[in-house]
Each structure stands twice: as C-alpha cells, then as structure tokens.
C-alpha cells in the first residue's frame, strides 16, 4: 500500500514537471517558428544593425537597433536606480534594522513586488510625467528618464529581497570573527558580509535585469514609444516588448511585419535566456 502511494506520488510529480518542460519547449519552438521567416525579407545583420523600424512603409524597414538600444537604455537606467536602493535596503534590513523594524519593512517591500505593472505605468503617466515636464521644462514626460525611474522602482523589491536573503544567510560566526578582531559594524558589513554574499547579490541584479528587459506594460505606457536612437535621456524610446505589444494587434498573421515582431521576441528571449544562464552559472560555482 505504502509502496503504491509512493509510486503514484512519484508519477504525478514526474508528469507535472515533464508537462512544464514540454510547455516551455513548445513556447520556445513557436517563437522560433514564428520569427525565422522574417529573414526571408531582411538579413539577420540588417535586422540587428539597422536603426530604421518602419514596418508599415512600402517597402518596409525591419531594423530593430533603435528598439534594442531603447530597451538597453531604460534597463540600464532602471538598474542605476534599483541597485543602490535595493542593495541599500537589503543591507539595512539584514544588518542594521531592529527586529521590529525588519518585520515592518520586509512585507512592505514584498508588497511593492505585488503591485501590478499597469499600476506602476499609470503612476508614471499620471504623476511622474507631468511632474518632470514642469521641473525640467521638457516637451514630453514619457521618455527614457521616467521609464527608468518606474522600471527601477519595480525592480527594487527583486534586488532587495534576494540580496537580503543572501546577506542574512552569511553565518553569524563570520560577523563575530570580524568584530572580535576589532572591526566595527560597518567594516564588518563592507569587508566581510557583503563579499560573502556576493554571488547572491550578483544573481539578484541579473534577475532584476531580466525583469526590466522583459517588462512590457511599463515601457509601453511610460517610455514614449518613438523608434529612434535617442540623443539624450529626456527623449522617448520604443523598447522591444513595447513594440511587440503595441503592434501585434494591427498586423496580419503571416505578414512580414508579423514575422518581424516574432523576430524581436527571439532576440528578447535570447537576452533573458543568457541572463538566466549567467545566474545559474554563478549559483552553481558558489555551491562547489
């Protein structure tokens, strides 16, 4: 009887995990199936290196360089904001805050992660953008700068909670050893605790990067939507996910434009896939 239970449990969990893998492979397969036909109309090099994205012109231009640059700029901007805030709050919660403050702060930050991205987007459009227009006297408040801020806020909880886990799991004995050698609290944090948690912190940043690169709703609402290579951070851009989301509804299935959007999805997938590989690599190396 017990044997039967164990066997059926094994089978059920095995099928569940197999199912997940099959679905994942199916999605990957369909992206590549949908995207590769675009290369009948444009070469891979041109697709990646041309900045002109005019999918509805005749003849159309399928160059996504400006979209890639748009994505990378808002993502970099988001990390500039979220790394110091996320790491700073993680250090504060793990090393400095009292038990009570920690119990209040941790759920608040986790709550931040639970806010739907469309709400972040609304906040960007309704509050941040008019505010920026007034302060900087710029024509539009929907640009790299504002998208970076909103994306950055979205990524803070990821970096914060994962870094905090990494910092908290540094053994107490290392902190004690450092303090017993005459180091003060700050020296102990900077020289011992943070380096010991380095792998976890870097993983959290890469995961945050992946989240920011793939985030769609916020960049659709706040980045401005202009497919151009910007000359300053107050210009609008059109990141890759925003392009797919905005244009997919207007294309004819099976048209070159349709394939091109799938092509963008391939590039996005490759970027996030690589970032996950790097994270896995770091985690694996740390375990050894």
């Amino acid at each position: 009887m017990n044997n039967f239970k164990e066997l059926s449990f094994k089978t059920v969990t095995y099928i569940a995990s197999l199912f997940t893998i099959v679905v994942l492979l199916g999605i990957i397969f369909s992206i590549f199936l949908g995207g590769t036909p675009v290369f009948q109309y444009v070469s891979l090099t041109k697709f990646l290196s041309s900045p002109s994205w005019h999918p509805t012109h005749d003849p159309p231009d399928f160059g996504i360089l400006s979209l890639i640059i748009g994505s990378l700029l808002v993502t970099a901007g988001a990390l500039v904001i979220s790394i110091p805030l996320g790491l700073g709050s993680a250090i504060y919660i793990s090393e400095i805050a009292s038990q009570r403050v920690r119990e209040i702060l941790k759920p608040i930050i986790e709550l931040l992660a639970g806010i739907p991205s469309v709400v972040y987007g609304l906040f960007g459009m309704a509050f941040l953008s008019p505010f920026l227009i007034r302060i900087f006297k710029i024509p539009t408040g929907l640009n790299i700068f504002s998208a970076s801020i909103i994306l950055g806020l979205m990524v803070v909880p990821i970096i914060s909670s994962l870094s905090e886990d990494a910092l908290s799991s540094v053994p107490k004995s290392l902190r004690e050893a450092s303090l017993a050698l005459g180091a003060n609290k700050w020296e102990t944090i900077i020289r011992i605790v943070v380096p010991a948690a380095k792998a976890g912190i870097i993983s959290s940043i890469i995961l945050g990067f992946g989240r920011a690169v793939g985030e769609t709703m916020v960049v659709l609402m706040v980045a401005g939507g202009a497919a151009q290579i910007p000359s300053n951070i107050f210009q609008p851009v059109r990141p890759m996910p925003a392009t797919i989301a905005a244009e997919m509804g207007e294309t004819v299935i099976g048209s070159p434009h349709f394939y091109a959007l799938y092509g963008i999805a391939i590039i996005l997938f490759v970027i996030t896939f690589i970032s996950i590989l790097i994270t896995e690599f770091i985690v694996m190396r740390k375990k050894r």
Partner: protein, 253 residues
C-alpha cells in the same frame, strides 16, 4: 615560575540575558602569561563569562551587566572605553574554526587592514603570526589559496594566527579543540603552552584532562557561580569544594 600579576580581574560581575541571571557575582583573576582554564558543566556560563572579556555579549539584545572587568587599570565596561580597542587587545578564538571566505593571507591581514597598519609592515606581521601559530611551514607556498582548502586543525591555527596578528595581550579560546581530531587537538594544546610566554591565555574546555595538561590555573563554574579558583595542580589533587570534587571525578558534566 608563575608570575602573580593579574591581567584581568572581575569584580562582582553579574550578567542577565533578559530574565536569565547567567553570571552571579563572579570574581576571577586571569594571571599574566599563564594559561587559565575555565571548566564546568554545560550551560553554567563559561562561554558567557569569556565573552564578557572582549565585550562580545554587547551584541546580544537585552543583555544587562553589572560589576567590573578590569583589564589592568581600566574597566572595559566604563563608558569611555572604545570597544574595538578592547577587542584588539583581547583576541578570541571560537569553538568551530571560522575563517573568512578569503585567502589564507587575507585572513591574517584582515585585522591589520582594519586597524590601518602600514602596508609595508603587513606582510612581515602576517608571516610572523603564521610562524607563531605553527602554520607557516604548511601554508607558505599557498598563501593566496582559499582558507577553506585547509584542514579543520589548520583552520583553527589560522584563526589563532589571525588573532595573534593584532598583537593581543590576551587570547580567549572557547573550546577550540572540541571540533577537532585528537592529533590536531594535541597540536593546539602544545601551541597554547608555547604561546604563553608571549600572551595570556584563557581557555574554556569541557575536557578535564585538557585543562590538567595545559593550564596553570583553573576556574570551576557551576550554575553561573565561580565555585573555585586555584592552581590547577592543587585543585585537581585536593579540590576545596564538594561540587568541584564531584565534577572532577565525573559525577556530572
């Protein structure tokens, strides 16, 4: 023979963790350049007393301390005292070897870097400390390898070297051999004996035979009280207190 000047003296030291009265009117001298062993059954407050001497108990919330711990002329619990300064003068080695996840060299240079010792002197001090901890010959060709590549006994000697690098007056050891094999234990015991010309040693041990082998003085604690303090030879042959006698003969512990 034994030098009678006390290095640390506690005066009516009491300590509470919350409502738990852990140390009760403890008075104990720790004599200069001697090995003093702290023995007693589990939970009697040995580690807590040891951690009073470098103020490590400060880290535990809801700790209350009364009385004095005099390091020479100075009460280390007076408000004028710089805690980090106390901790460089009073080094500590823990029960489980706890090297930093850094190279062997950086483990030893850590305290020196923190104290802002001139770079030019660090290399020489690291080498001397490793020599003094009897580790130099084993690690001189692999100073920049991870400290985790060492055996448990070597790691513990690295922790001793790391403490010695600060040129402390006293080293506190909390059951430093309880996680080690007999051979590594013997080596650390010999090392303690060799080091006592240079530094005062206070060692907590569960191992009565170990206390007998290496200590000049022994303090027996029971339920937070200092029951008996005296020369190890005397105490081990004619204990004054019934409880000491019972503990030494293995009735409890």
């Amino acid at each position: 023979m034994v030098n009678k000047s006390a290095h640390i003296i506690t005066e009516d030291l009491n300590l509470w963790f919350g409502d738990n009265h852990v140390l009760k009117d403890v008075n104990i001298p720790v004599y200069d350049r001697n090995v003093t062993a702290l023995i007693g059954p589990s939970g009697c407050g040995k580690s807590t007393l040891l951690r009073c001497f470098n103020r490590m108990n400060d880290l535990i919330p809801e700790t209350r301390i009364t009385g004095k711990v005099m390091l020479y002329e100075e009460n280390i619990y007076s408000s004028r005292v710089d805690v980090t300064n106390v901790r460089t003068k009073v080094g500590m080695v823990f029960q489980k070897p706890n090297p930093f996840p850094k190279s062997i060299y950086k483990n030893v240079s850590y305290g020196l870097n923190v104290r802002g010792i001139a770079r030019s002197r660090i290399e020489e001090i690291v080498e001397k400390s490793l020599h003094d901890a009897w580790l130099w010959e084993e690690v001189k060709d692999r100073l920049h390898e991870s400290a985790f590549s060492l055996s448990g006994g070597q790691q513990q000697r690295l922790c001793i070297a790391r403490a010695l690098a600060n040129d402390p007056e006293i080293i506190l050891l909390d059951e430093p051999t309880s996680a080690l094999d007999p051979q590594s234990t013997a080596r650390i015991e010999e090392l303690c004996l060799a080091l006592k010309d240079q530094v005062t040693i206070l060692i907590v041990t569960h191992n009565i035979a170990q206390a007998g082998r290496i200590s000049d003085y022994t303090a027996f604690m029971y339920l937070g009280e200092m029951v008996e303090f005296g020369k190890t030879k005397q105490m081990f042959t004619v204990p004054k207190d019934k409880r000491t006698e019972a503990y030494l003969s293995g009735v409890f512990g």
